[in-house]
């Protein structure tokens, strides 16, 4: 090969090497750019996710509430209302049991009514006995005068007594609740367990959204941390680009020296130097290229890791979380919010009905003392009348004894009849008093329950409050659906940006690979075209200087194979030449 051709080839080598330097520098800068933009995108993504999560967890101002705060308000409000109502109904049952007994036919009120009915019947008997006595007395003429007066007095007192018992009946009818109707409503409310369960299930659904949110946030944080930790490791590989550049610059120094010597006719005669320089350049180039490509292949897989741990993981978490924003899904925020609203309204309306129907019990209990007093007044007056009956009984007994000769057996029968009826009235009145006293005692004992009942029966659910809560909750859900759609788009945007950068990297890496292969082959061709000749490198000061400039570990290893090297050192360490 003549000097001109060789010079041309060395110029070509220099051009290839320079291209490799530029391409590798460009690739290094690209990777740096990818990482920077990835970090920037990640910051934006983290910001978007944090903003999204803030709507769940944090309120924007003092006036507004976060989604979870709204939910918690609803849950507490409904739960406490439901508890109040359940307590109220249970207390109603309790009051029913203690005041009226377990069955309506044995209830205190029923007992009072039953006894007063019985008394009424007895009083009818007494009245007709007195009427009969009056008739008998009138038939006796003058001798029956006193008997007639007593009979009429009994008649008069009996009708008075009858009026008092009718009054008692009226008081009960007017003031005491219709037990059967109340009992029916209390029984209907037994269904509360189903309502409560339905509500609890929905609240659990919400709880699972809350829990999922925490998981989502935790996994995103972990993905971000993993990604962040991978970045320094990824960047550490970029040093290989600098090492490769140094190696290529040393090759250029070699080829420049070779060109200089080719141009000098004397030196061109000794092609051993040129062969040596190109051979060592090729070896350095191949080793450097291999190291560089392997390092950047590592970069490639690190970018994949980064994409997987960050974008793929975030996207997958976001997609999993997406079920809560798809109204076709029964677990979606919208569906669950709607269901909670429906079941809350259903409860509220039901509760209002129960309260309306229990209002008679509330009215009954609110003035219980005075109602008992009214009954006891009637009883006391009745007992005073009955005391007068005792006097009349003695008078009647004496008068009937006086008339026994005239009346015969009828006198004894009448006396017994009056005795029995008056005893019976007395006995029944005592019983009715006992029942009412018992009712009064029970009331005193359970006064605290009645007071609690008063307190609980305040309307536990306000329609307006609930409407305000649900309206604002719905607004938050709509807002969150929009935010989620925005976040999904952002994640898609950043993911595709990373994917595009990665594709660009792969393409540039391929170009360098092919360029390096061409350069290496070209160097090989030149070596084969230059004859080998004896060359004493120890005498070549310039070569010695050039080799001393070789600072990378791979270059030193190559140098060791051709020259006497005392110590190649260690990778990244120092070495001593010759």
């Amino acid at each position: 090969m003549n000097s001109k051709d060789l010079l041309g080839k060395i110029t070509t080598i220099n051009r290839y090497i320079t291209d490799s330097i530029h391409s590798s520098e460009k690739l290094g800068l690209d990777v740096f750019g990818i990482v920077s933009s990835f970090e920037k995108d990640m910051c934006s993504l983290i910001e978007s996710i944090e903003n999204f999560l803030k709507i769940f967890f944090l309120s924007e101002s003092n006036d507004s509430k976060s989604y979870l705060e709204e939910l918690s308000t609803i849950r507490n409000k409904i739960d406490s209302s439901l508890n109040s109502l359940i307590n109220l109904v249970e207390l109603s049952e309790d009051i029913f049991l203690c005041l009226f007994g377990s069955k309506s036919e044995n209830s205190t009120i029923a007992q009072i009514l039953k006894i007063s009915n019985e008394i009424d019947e007895i009083l009818d008997e007494l009245s007709s006995a007195a009427t009969n006595s009056s008739i008998t007395a009138s038939q006796l003429g003058n001798s029956g005068g006193a008997f007639s007066i007593i009979s009429k007095e009994i008649q008069r007192e009996t009708s008075q007594l009858s009026r008092h018992f009718s009054k008692m009946y009226e008081i009960i009818e007017e003031n005491f609740p219709e037990l059967e109707s109340l009992r029916e409503h209390i029984t209907r409310f037994k269904d509360r367990e189903r309502l409560r369960k339905g509500f609890s299930d929905l609240i659990n659904d919400f709880q699972s959204i809350e829990n999922q949110l925490f998981v989502f946030k935790k996994e995103i944080d972990e993905s971000m941390d993993t990604a962040k930790n991978k970045i320094p490791e990824l960047l550490s590989h970029l040093v290989n680009q600098d090492i490769f550049r140094q190696q290529l610059e040393h090759i250029i120094e070699f080829t420049n020296e070779a060109s200089k010597r080719i141009k000098n006719r004397d030196e061109f005669k000794n092609q051993g130097f040129i062969n040596f320089v190109i051979t060592i350049s090729k070896e350095i180039f191949d080793a450097g290229s291999e190291e560089f490509l392997s390092a950047f292949s590592e970069v490639d897989s690190k970018i994949d890791d980064l994409t997987a741990s960050c974008c793929v993981s975030i996207k997958s978490n976001l997609n999993d979380f997406g079920v809560y924003f798809n109204s076709e899904n029964e677990k979606s925020l919208k569906r669950v919010t709607d269901e909670i609203m429906i079941i809350t309204i259903k409860n509220t309306v039901f509760v209002q009905e129960v309260l309306e129907n229990l209002s008679s019990l509330k009215g009954f209990l609110s003035d219980f003392d005075s109602k008992i007093s009214l009954l006891l007044d009637q009883i006391r007056t009745s007992q005073n009348i009955i005391k007068r009956f005792q006097t009349m009984r003695i008078l009647l007994k004496a008068e009937l004894a006086r008339l026994s000769d005239i009346l015969g057996k009828k006198s004894k029968d009448s006396q017994e009849q009056f005795e029995n009826i008056i005893n019976s009235v007395e006995h029944k009145t005592k019983s009715i008093k006992n029942v009412i006293d018992n009712l009064e005692n029970l009331y005193d004992k359970n006064r605290h329950k009645f007071e609690l009942y008063e307190k609980l029966s305040e309307n536990p659910l306000s329609e307006k409050d609930l409407k305000d809560i649900f309206d604002s909750l719905k607004k938050i859900v709509e807002f969150m659906e929009k935010e989620y759609a925005f976040l999904s788009k952002e994640v898609d945007k950043y993911s595709s940006s990373i994917v595009n950068s990665k594709e660009s990297f792969v393409s540039k890496y391929g170009e360098i690979y092919r360029l390096n292969e061409t350069t290496s082959n070209f160097l090989g061709e030149i070596i084969n075209s230059i004859p080998k000749s004896n060359f004493d490198y120890k005498e070549d000061e310039i070569l010695k200087e050039l080799i001393e400039n070789m600072t990378t570990y791979k270059e030193r290893i190559v140098a060791q194979q051709h020259l006497e090297v005392e110590d190649v050192g260690s990778e990244g360490g120092e070495f001593t030449l010759f």
Binding site: E328, E330, M341, I345, K346, V349, K467
Partner: protein, 127 residues
């Protein structure tokens, strides 16, 4: 539960509901407005064969679902033992409509698109 009336002006919604109800093997009549719904309802009462369940849309021509619900509950008071279960089927998901429906004594409220799970749950609870 056997005799059912669907009151719905959207053919698509009727088809979806029919598919969802298929497994219950019901005898289903369909009308497209509130006035017809009341005619059908009254007619079934006169024949002493009242509907056991009515799916009632709210937004409909002539007479809306809330009016129909109110009217049916009013009529029921004059007929002993006439108690038809009524489920509102609507896309209206605001508080006021739900509240009004329950005040008028509907038995359930389904928001469109109706989900199979929700319908099945409701059918189970009212039958």
């Amino acid at each position: 539960m056997n005799k059912v009336l669907i009151v719905e002006d959207s053919e698509l919604s009727v088809d979806i509901l029919k598919i969802l109800l298929e497994k219950y093997g019901l005898e289903i009549d369909v009308v497209e407005n509130g006035e017809l719904a009341l005619d059908y309802y009254k007619n079934s009462l006169h024949k002493s064969d009242p509907y056991e369940l009515i799916f009632l849309d709210i937004m409909m021509p002539k007479k809306d679902g809330q009016e129909v619900l109110e009217e049916i509950r009013r009529i029921e008071k004059t007929y002993k033992n006439a108690k038809t279960k009524i489920i509102m089927t609507t896309s209206l998901d605001n508080f006021d409509n739900v509240y009004k429906s329950f005040k008028n004594k509907c038995d359930g409220y389904l928001i469109k698109p109706i989900l199979k799970e929700k319908l099945d749950l409701l059918m189970k609870s009212i039958t």
